[in-house]
Symmetry: C2
Subunit: 275 residues, 2 copies
């Protein structure tokens, strides 16, 4: 099956468009809510948490793991790929991140050659977006800003309060003055504040949201990799919808309530796991 | 030795006055920064984290463990006391929380019989302060409010920004309208915003800070329990200052930088541990 891993609930902004685009597969979502948010933690801790999640998800039968978390993708993806996909394993299972697809779309879009990136401290300090964008085009100018308080506001459901907007403006002001024509929301929580980002940056700046880009690129990836696609479990029911399973490391009740509302779906059970 | 355990850096507001009051003992401080903040997590996760910390600290030779964290004290203290202090063990080692001393002082102070409590979601939902205050005096009226965004602001060093003050006012407004004459800062982070709390509540409300109360009560406790006091390791140097050791589950560099500034002391080494 396809597994999505996130530090908490942010990865649901990836799961939602992925399910809409590719409803036929079985999905397993793991949110490490007992240790979220990852964005302010050290590289060493994020790598350790990512290893634990990958081992757990492969044990549960995942063929393809998507790091639906920019922090984990920026800091730990290459590390877990090297550790868990050695030799023959690489043909049978994959771990994908969310950075490269978004970097590609942003690079394609930017006419001025000026791209802004917002994300957690760990994502911005890793300079992973800068690296990926410069691989595509060394001439691109990349301006970035970490926005550490936005995740707590979103997790609290306070993202529409005036204080949230005021803080968002403080974070974005330096980027806006750099005249970027493209902004990457480099944290899977941020689409929950997408309107505020778009409004402050103005109509001349295109805002890229990880989930939508990843859904399209994943469909494309599976077409190009039939050896992976044929291993994925999928719907054998009439409605063509695969199974959806949800796991969390903290309270299943809280996770279920939020996820049902955000995904507009009924979930029969959220399973509590310890990594 | 005396060990203090907190979810992160908040417990330093307890360690600082404790060291000032009782400088002669050796202290070991453990901040679980890789999983902070605890305040929004489930009871089950907080109990598990507290068990891991207690096992680790007793293994390192602690005689007395202080939960310098209101969330852990409210949710997990009784649980770990029952699990780790069975039979003979109880005479040799102790685990103390921070709630009872503060509840006692607040109850003594309140003339109107109206006490306000602020804390994390887990602390407020546990109703642990209500229970302790009502044990002392069932007539007391206790009004409480959780303030989940204050810890992220403080951890970010943004506690003096106007948005932090504005959010603090939103949280406190219902309590202020209850005419409390006493306010318990039921989270060890909050003393870092004590001036704002005091200013908004006004001169007629006395604000109690966990650390200062605990320091005095601990001195008193050790006088009454010589069987514990004599087991504590202490200074054998001329200046009369015991050893201070600092442990964290996340980045030692970040922890060291913050702690040296907050404690106004030089720390030779912060040790990284995995619980």
């Amino acid at each position: 099956m396809i597994a999505l891993f996130d530090s908490g609930i942010g990865g649901l902004t990836v799961l939602k468009p992925v399910i809409e685009r590719l409803p036929q597969y079985d999905y397993l979502y793991l949110g490490d809510s007992a240790r979220s948010p990852y964005g302010g933690r050290s590289e060493e801790s994020i790598k350790r948490f990512a290893e634990e999640a990958v081992e757990y998800l492969f044990d549960r039968g995942a063929t393809l793991i998507i790091f639906a978390c920019n922090t984990a993708s920026s800091v730990a993806l290459r590390h877990v790929q090297q550790k868990y996909l050695k030799g023959d394993k690489e043909k049978e299972r994959k771990i994908l991140g969310v950075l490269i697809p978004v970097a590609e779309e942003a690079e394609k879009h930017s006419k001025k050659g000026r791209i802004g990136v917002v994300g957690t401290k760990a994502t911005i300090e890793s300079q992973a977006y800068d690296t990926e964008i410069h691989k595509l085009n060394p001439e691109m100018k990349v301006y970035s800003a970490s926005c550490p308080l936005l995740v707590p506001f979103i997790e609290e459901g306070w993202q529409s309060k005036p204080e949230a907007t005021s803080i968002l403006k403080k974070y974005l002001k330096p980027l806006k003055s750099c005249n970027v024509d493209t902004l990457i929301l480099g944290c899977t929580h941020y689409p929950m504040m997408q309107k505020q980002f778009a409004k402050y940056m103005g109509k001349k700046t295109k805002v890229f949201n990880t989930g939508e880009v990843v859904a399209e690129k994943l469909a494309n990836y599976l077409e190009r990799h039939p050896e992976i696609e044929k291993r994925l479990s999928r719907a054998n029911t009439k409605n063509g919808q695969g199974k959806r399973q949800f796991l969390t490391t903290d309270s299943p009740e809280k996770f279920k309530k939020f996820t049902e509302r955000y995904m507009s779906m009924k979930i029969s059970k959220v399973e509590k796991v310890i990594l």
